[in-house]
């Protein structure tokens, strides 16, 4: 039966998996969002300890999702891996740096004899919390705005300038998505505190901060969305030729009603979770905004890659643009990987099970006192 599965189907299937991983990653960056407020949200060291321990029990999920996202992209669309990572060198290196410093910061911050003091490791958390989501958002924006690269006949990448990806930071559209992702992470971070921390004062401060962070997120998100839908996009003809098409992403959204519904459901979920947490004592806003974030990101990725669209377009050489067809792995590899992907629900199930077990009680000073492993 698997012999009947076409290469085109698998290319679409794997783009959906990539989109799902991207959605989960954006949701899990609530950890980064929380870290970005390490110096501004807590009023005292006790609250900071609560904040750090709340997010410190989850940072590995985000980290692992990022690594898996990279691995899955490599396996399914290796030309993206080689073209983007090799080309936009400095952007990816900056993202990696911010995650390297995060990985040690939780474990080392309060350990005796850590050499550099607690504040240094808190600054590491702040750097990762701010730069991580912002740079990842900015890099993903280039899926819609294009990058300055070309490929030769051996599919080797040449970047058109010496900035190697940093030039993405001077585009307002790229920046707006970067900032939208950063503020969405902060919103999710605040909602996570409201959900999982037991100390009333910190929870109330989180609710107060939620309004400004949500409005800021909305401003940047709407700016990105409106400019995206009104701008031209990178369309792929049947022959594989890439050309600019007016309102391409708007066409994609209306050309794929399911994606439109998915995207709108995501946006509604995000807004509902925020609204419920602002205007009622609800503590479960994270699940609506979190799920909404996942759905909205999946929607954005699908309009970037489906419906004959180049998902990693080249702004300097249109026909070097990457599509899910020309950048993908072979039929055999995608099929082999499909069998592996069937295990993803099992992975999600045990993550959910372990998550519930750890989050059984809300985090309070008292809970931390009885805990052997405290950050």
């Amino acid at each position: 039966m698997t012999a009947m599965i076409s290469h085109l189907f698998l290319q679409h299937y794997w783009w959906m998996i990539i989109s799902l991983l991207a959605g989960i990653l954006v949701f899990l960056m609530f950890v980064q969002g929380g870290q970005s407020m390490i110096f501004t949200l807590p009023l005292n060291d006790g609250q900071r300890r609560l904040l750090v321990n709340a997010f410190g029990r989850k940072w590995e999920f985000t980290f692992t999702t990022l690594v898996t996202f990279g691995g899955a992209f490599f396996a399914s669309f290796p030309l993206f891996y080689s073209a983007s990572f090799g080309g936009a060198y400095w952007v990816w290196i900056a993202i990696l740096f911010s995650f390297i410093v995060q990985a040690v910061a939780y474990e080392y911050r309060t350990k005796p004899a850590n050499v550099y003091g607690q504040r240094t490791f808190d600054i590491f958390l702040f750097i990762n919390g701010t730069l991580g989501p912002f740079l990842i958002g900015t890099a993903v924006a280039t899926f819609f705005t294009g990058s300055a690269f070309s490929l030769n006949e051996m599919n080797q990448v040449r970047w058109a300038n010496g900035w190697h990806g940093l030039e993405a930071l001077v585009s307002g559209r790229n920046l707006s998505l970067g900032l939208a992702v950063l503020f969405l992470s902060r919103v999710n971070g605040l909602l996570y505190i409201i959900n999982s921390v037991g100390e009333t004062d910190l929870v109330e401060r989180s609710r107060k901060k939620l309004l400004m962070n949500s409005l800021t997120f909305l401003v940047f998100f709407l700016f990105f969305l409106v400019t995206l839908l009104l701008s031209g996009g990178f369309a792929v003809a049947g022959s594989g030729e890439v050309s600019m098409e007016k309102f391409k992403y708007l066409h994609n959204l209306f050309g794929m009603p399911l994606v439109l519904i998915l995207f709108l459901a995501g946006v509604v979920g995000v807004l509902f979770g925020i609204g419920a947490s602002l205007f009622s004592p609800a503590r479960n806003g994270i699940w609506f905004t979190g799920t909404g974030s996942i759905l909205a990101v999946i929607g954005l990725f699908l309009i970037a890659g489906f419906n004959n669209t180049a998902f990693y377009p080249s702004s300097t050489d249109l026909n070097s643009s990457l599509t899910i067809q020309n950048a993908s792995s072979s039929l055999f590899t995608l099929k082999t990987m499909m069998f592996v992907s069937f295990l993803v629900p099992v992975v999600l199930a045990y993550i959910w099970f372990a998550w519930k077990a750890i989050n059984r009680n809300r985090i309070t000073e008292e809970e931390l006192r009885g805990e052997g492993h405290v950050y």
């Binding site: 029990r57 590995e60 999920f61 980290f63 692992t64 990022l66 690594v67 898996t68 990279g70 691995g71 490599f74 396996a75 399914s76 290796p78 030309l79 891996y81 080689s82 983007s84 990572f85 090799g86 080309g87 060198y89 400095w90 990816w92 290196i93 990696l96 740096f97 995650f99 390297i100 410093v101 995060q102 990985a103 040690v104 474990e107 080392y108 350990k111 004899a113 850590n114 050499v115 006949e153 051996m154 599919n155 080797q156 990448v157 970047w159 190697h164 792995s329 072979s330 055999f332 590899t333 082999t336 592996v340 993550i351 372990a354 077990a357 750890i358 059984r360 805990e371 052997g372 492993h373």
Partner: protein
């Protein structure tokens, strides 16, 4: 592909990968082994209910956590570096190499990171049994991670299970099982994880010995020595066995690397196995490269021939046979391999030109050649030689390969003796009185780190100039960015990792001095 390559760029890109890999490998083996040691201790606690075993488990788990964090920090860069610094490689083999990396993420990393959270934070939140299962799953997850990355690395040493597609200019997978059960992968996986078990055992033995010397935590120390002694002895025997297995495989699939690690300049029958030897330049050259000879050596006659072929009289090829060829032994000279590689490369250029000019029939006929088994085994397998300028360029640094291998092997035997002695003194009840042994054990903590790094230096530097054996040299694989960018990131990584390492060692030492919580 390799025209106008800036050697500064290549050298710094290699240096950066070496730096990040060396740093990462300072932390991974302890994670691989200590996770099992902790799981064994917790199992005893759950079975006996003895709180002292729980205290021990939590103490070693604290040290595990400190090491685990920096292992994660140094690991993420390696995965992405394949893209950032070796992008041409990433495309050429992404269809094959990416799959193990993705499986590693989906199946192993999530297992490890999910249950490590339960292991650290679940003591008061989940049942004893669930906690124990979580601890075991962390150990399994960590070692599964090692499996997939080693499968990927082994494919680079011995590419199997693929076919070249001229359309996409890359290799494509044809058999996942060939990849997984690659003989290099089997040996490398077992050798690598058992070396991690060994390192962790020495770590536990050394620290426990220090407690005995300081007359602190004697019960914890002796119990820990018991566990690490048994686990370490079994692991070190396994390291020796799998090391032998891996070396035999190298002799078969990477003969030049094998000749280099034995410093065998000229092939011979009844080749002896060098136990200890000191190398010097012999004055003889192949092209511009000096060959080596021993200024001093102790060897067992005929043993190398016996070990590689099961026959004392067997011929073991030397570097000059492998470079210049040896017709009597049916060894092809490198010059011939270069010619064959160039034919394959020119055929690929012809294919691209035909496609460009829309000469469909010609393109189809060339495409068929690339699928022809005769062409694959006769020409394409030497594709990488098309980029080699001089035949002697296929020889790695012989002195580096020889010394890394032999020091590693000698250390391997030393570890077996150490663990055997630890158990002997422990069962005799005299270990606390053997101060010389306890001090030796403390200082020996460093030695498995040395042997592990030497092993990787041999594996990677010993296969130069290849990034994929015979198919792609490093020069063709490197990302073409400015050398200045790579030098900058090299310095950034060197500084950052060193800064983090200093903190890690300082925290670790302090935690050991503080000892377990009461």
């Amino acid at each position: 592909m390799i025209e106008n390559l800036d050697l500064t760029l290549l050298d710094w890109s290699r240096a950066q990968f070496a730096l990040t890999a060396i740093y990462h490998w300072l932390f991974v083996p302890l994670t691989l082994g200590l996770s099992f040691i902790v799981a064994i201790m917790e199992t005893i606690y759950v079975r006996t209910g003895d709180e002292e075993w729980k205290r021990m488990t939590r103490f070693w788990m604290t040290l595990f956590g400190i090491n685990f964090a920096i292992g994660v920090a140094t690991g993420i860069i390696l995965e992405f570096e394949f893209g950032t610094n070796w992008s041409n490689y990433s495309w050429f083999v992404g269809d094959i190499f990416g799959a193990p990396l993705a499986i590693e993420g989906i199946l192993a990393f999530f297992l490890e990171s999910t249950f490590v959270a339960v292991m650290f934070f679940g003591w008061n939140k989940v049942s004893r049994r669930f906690h124990l299962v979580s601890t075991w799953l962390v150990a399994v997850g960590a070692n599964l991670s090692a499996l997939w990355i080693l499968v990927a690395n082994s494919w680079m040493q011995n590419p199997v299970g693929m076919v070249f597609n001229p359309d996409t200019a890359r290799n494509e997978m044809t058999s996942f099982w060939a990849l997984l059960f690659n003989p290099v992968a089997v040996g490398k996986f077992l050798h690598t994880i058992s070396s991690g078990f060994l390192l962790a055992s020495m770590f536990v033995l050394g620290i426990s010995s220090w407690y005995l010397l300081k007359k602190r935590e004697e019960q914890l120390a002796k119990r820990s020595i018991l566990i690490s002694g048994i686990f370490g002895l079994l692991s070190s025997l396994m390291v020796a066995y799998t090391g032998d297995m891996s070396t035999r495989t190298i002799a078969r699939v990477q003969p030049v690397k094998f000749a280099a690690l034995e410093a065998l300049s000229e092939g011979k029958q009844e080749a002896g196995l060098t136990i200890v030897g000191i190398l010097k330049d012999s004055g003889r050259k192949i092209g511009g490269r000096s060959l080596t000879e021993f200024s001093l050596k102790i060897e067992v006659p005929g043993l190398l021939s016996l070990m590689t072929s099961g026959d004392r009289d067997a011929f073991v090829p030397g570097i000059s046979d492998l470079v210049n060829g040896n017709e009597a032994r049916s060894i092809m000279p490198v010059t011939e391999k270069i010619l064959r590689g160039k034919e394959a490369k020119e055929l690929l250029s012809g294919y691209k030109a035909s496609k460009h000019e829309k000469m469909v029939q010609k393109a189809d006929s060339i495409s068929a050649v690339f699928r022809d088994p005769g062409f694959i085994s006769g020409n394409f397998r030497y594709f990488g030689y098309a980029f080699i300028d001089k035949p002697e360029d296929v020889v790695p640094n012989v002195k580096l390969a020889y010394y890394t291998f032999h020091v590693m092997v000698l250390l391997g035997f030393f570890f077996i003796i150490m663990f055997a002695l630890a158990l002997f003194y422990l069962f005799r009840g005299t270990i606390s009185a053997r101060k010389w042994f306890l001090w030796l054990a403390v200082w020996s903590i460093l030695l498995p780190y040395v042997s592990g790094e030497l092993g990787w230096a041999l594996a990677e530097a010993g296969r130069q100039p290849w990034i994929i054996q015979d198919l792609m040299p490093v020069g063709a694989a490197v990302t073409r960015i400015s050398p200045g960018s790579v030098i900058t990131t090299f310095i950034l990584f060197a500084v950052l990792f060193t800064v983090l390492l200093i903190s890690e060692i300082s925290i670790m030492v302090r935690q050991i001095k503080l000892g377990p919580k009461h």
